[in-house]
């Protein structure tokens, strides 16, 4: 159900009130997604006079009707600090300039009449003010369930505030006459936006990379490519300010809430990873309409709590159910994986129905090491899943001259030529086993959970190797090219920033690289790939371009219109 407003027209004249259908004692009609409220539907307007007459046939001398109808409120969490006073706005009265509350207009009522409010649902995380500073009901010093007031002659403006994501409360607004008798009542659905993660089809707003130039590596070339392509959409973060912690994907996860009165509440989910980039969110991003929040216990942190292990698909339809905001996925199996508190928070948002993948086989253990999504406007679903794939890597290598020199792979991976890769039985066994035991299973999960067809998947050549000191876990041998960044620019172009695989003899000639050729050939035509040098800083650090980049995107503005059926 897209909307649950109940439209009552009340003709107010002198005289006794009559029953108006709903007795106002329960906020019926507030059930999630339902419309079986016993009250009129959206398109049914019931006009009621105090004499019991309907509006039909009323005379022109009758006073104008009061439309006792209220739209649902789709607000946002108010957990930022708009007045920059160091206090979370939820924990202080609404002030001038606060833009994360929703308004609910109460029309003028006749002299002597009053309005009664009652609320059920998550009262600990919903609050109604009768104007700034006048707490009415919900979460205050104690939970208040009802409130009665007399609006001013101009009416009243209630302020609705939420203290959490995906909050539901049912507000019942009852008009009472001079004698306290009920004239009319109307239920109002109060909801705060779920905390929503972006997907790769949304427009880029801003991109960050930690710029480093240290003895162990520099990403100056990669930064230069970002600057050139993204311009003002890109900011390099000074590495020395954050201990040269380059893994900015892992530290923060941009998310958002949207309200139907123009509110946008960004949340930066700050990982319990807590390495040198830990203060980045507070230092650089936190502010009005941007709050920083954390789920999980830092004392229990694992590599799975980094946000390369938290991704979201584009919109999908699965078994007839639309997921217009995509579906979240992360690495977790049983008790091992992303922290349970983080997972529970994401599950509780409902609209992006998370599913789990097995990443225990990886040294780092993140979902971005083997899969990503790219836009494909020409395909039925509008995207393609790029999936790491071992057989296509072997097929590609077998098509190359065995004596083809690979200078980047000799020292760093122990393979001087293509032939040396091909004759390494243990490497082949390892990768074939990974394909059979892990990647094929992951593919099946994607197909099932996202309703994919074979034509939605692009298999990208990938090989893995065991990492010493990592308990048998593996990481990309050929730089993990699906670990890429998708940037949709206002120009309409979609740029990809992809790890340069350096699978060639002449390191300066990307045009001679067969892996780049294969990767490019597999991409949808509309995409513009940039193969960037991430070798020393990222690849040898067991990550790639995506791991070293983070991005905000323009939110999808109408979750209440497209995703309410999931709540």
């Amino acid at each position: 159900m897209a909307k649950l407003s109940v439209r009552w027209l009340v003709m107010l004249t002198l005289g006794p009130a009559v029953a108006c259908g709903d007795d106002g004692s329960e906020p019926s009609g507030m059930t999630e997604g339902g419309s079986d409220t016993g009250t009129p539907d959206d398109d049914t307007t019931t006009a009621v006079t105090t004499t019991g007459q309907t509006l039909d046939g009323t005379t022109t001398d009758d006073p104008p009707p009061i439309e006792w109808e209220f739209p649902p409120v789709f607000g946002v969490i108010n957990a930022d600090d708009d007045d920059a006073n160091g206090t979370n706005d939820w924990y202080q009265p609404v002030f001038d300039g606060e833009d994360d509350v929703s308004t609910l207009a109460i029309p003028p009522v006749p002299d002597g009449y009053s309005v009664h409010l009652s609320m059920v649902g998550d009262l600990a995380n919903a609050r109604v003010w009768n104007g700034p500073g006048a707490f009415a009901l919900g979460s205050g010093n104690q939970i208040v369930e009802s409130y009665e007031f007399t609006p001013s002659p101009e009416g009243a403006e209630l302020l609705v505030e939420f203290g959490s994501d995906n909050v539901f409360a049912g507000l019942s607004i009852t008009l009472l006459d001079e004698d306290g008798a009920e004239v009319a009542t109307a239920p109002v659905e109060l909801r705060s936006s779920p905390l929503i993660l972006n997907h790769h089809l949304q427009p880029t707003e801003h991109v960050w990379v930690v710029a480093v130039n240290a003895g162990w590596g520099t990403n100056a070339d990669m930064v230069a490519v970002y600057e050139d392509v993204l311009g003002d959409h890109f900011t390099p973060v000074p590495g020395p300010s954050y201990g040269n912690d380059v893994w900015i994907q892992d530290e923060i996860q941009p998310a958002y809430g949207i309200g139907d009165q123009g509110q946008r509440a960004d949340t930066i989910i700050d990982s319990i990873r807590d390495r040198e980039l830990d203060p980045f969110a507070e230092n650089e991003l936190e502010g009005p309409d941007v709050n920083v929040r954390t789920w999980g216990n830092p004392a229990q942190v694992t590599s799975w709590d980094s946000f390369g292990n938290l991704e979201n698909s584009p919109p999908v339809t699965v078994d007839g159910v639309d997921y217009p905001l995509g579906r979240i996925y992360y690495g977790r199996q049983g008790d091992l994986g992303i922290h349970g508190d983080m997972a529970a928070q994401l599950v509780a948002q409902e609209v992006q129905a998370p599913f789990e993948l097995d990443t225990l086989w990886l040294c780092v253990g993140h979902v971005d090491e083997f899969a990503t999504f790219v836009p494909d406007p020409d395909s039925p679903k509008g995207f393609k899943l790029l999936l790491a794939d071992v057989p296509s890597a072997w097929a590609l290598l077998e098509s190359l001259p065995p004596d083809m020199a690979l200078p980047r792979y000799g020292a760093d991976h122990g393979y001087d030529t293509v032939g040396e890769l091909l004759v390494d039985a243990a490497l082949r066994n390892l990768n074939d086993d990974l394909q059979a035991d892990e990647l094929d299973v992951i593919r099946e999960v994607f197909v099932t959970e996202l309703g994919l067809e074979e034509s939605d998947i692009v298999y990208m050549p990938s090989l893995f190797e065991t990492i010493g000191g990592c308990g048998g876990g593996v990481a990309a041998l050929i730089p993990g090219m699906v670990n890429l960044i998708v940037s949709n620019l206002p120009s309409g172009e979609t740029h990809l920033f992809v790890p340069d695989p350096y699978f060639r003899t002449d390191l300066g000639d990307q045009g001679s690289d067969p892996v780049i050729d294969a990767f490019t050939a597999n991409l949808p035509d509309s995409l513009v790939p940039h193969y960037v040098d991430d070798w020393d800083v990222y690849h040898l650090g067991l990550g790639e371009v995506h791991c070293g980049t983070n991005m905000t995107r323009t939110p999808i503005a109408n979750w209440w219109e497209v995703a309410l059926h999931l709540l």
Partner: protein, 307 residues
Amino acid sequence: MTTSRNPTVSLLSTLVALALVGCAGGPDLEGPDLRSAPEAVTPAQAAEAATPASSADAPAAATAEPATVAVKEWRPWMEAQVDRLRREQPDTFDAVMALEARPTRAGLLRLTGPAVRNPDAAPILLYRLLSKGESTAVRAAIVEALPRTGGDFSAAAAELMALETAPEVREVLCAALQRAQAPHALEGLALGVADTAARVRAQALRSLGARPDGAQLSEAIIAALTDADPVVQQEAARASGNLALESATDALRAQLGASSPAVRLHALRALSRIDPAGTKALPELTTLRSDADPKVARLAERLATEG
């Protein structure tokens, strides 16, 4: 096991036997710190070396005759190289000595960058390993970088397996030995297979399974199929398959009933690599096709049904 009159193999057998003896009655994990190694290269280390290591802290392998571990005089070579590089390439020397071990995405430390991709970096890293009193994590990072230098580290890594105190570092030594030269690689890995720390034994088996000459330690690999640790069993199975050890068949078959799904999986897979036709005919395959673990069941199904 491949039998040979090769003195290297005999030496390896001796090492394995000594190490296993040490394992059986030895202490757990820790041994003398490198800073108390008898061939310390700085005055401070020489002074430290005068203090005998506590026998209670000695690693299993250290109970072997030290002289039998060092099959190449790598320390004099390292010192000569360091002297040369200090004179001729002081910038290179200083850069490698000062190179920061940076955190990988997994949290492990690594040394990366162009300074590492230089054969001359190998003796400098070894010198740094012995002289700077680095933390365990940095020592592991230094060891991890050794193969990526392209320089000579084989004998040093083998000897360090007997001297290094931290299992985390010995584990990485075993990984480095995958790319080391024979005979040193197998000498070091023989110690690794017999290490008191399961993580070291497991990594030694991974490295052996990835070396074409790993079958020279087939007896140790097969013995590890019944190791107390299931991860070690699993890696022993994987190595057996990679090396196509026919002599491991019975032990692998016995592991098809292991309680660990990973052991069952890798035992079955190893058997299929050693004897595809024979594995397809195994009566156990019927049970494994309905194994509680989906990976095992899927592999068994594929083996039973594919041509």
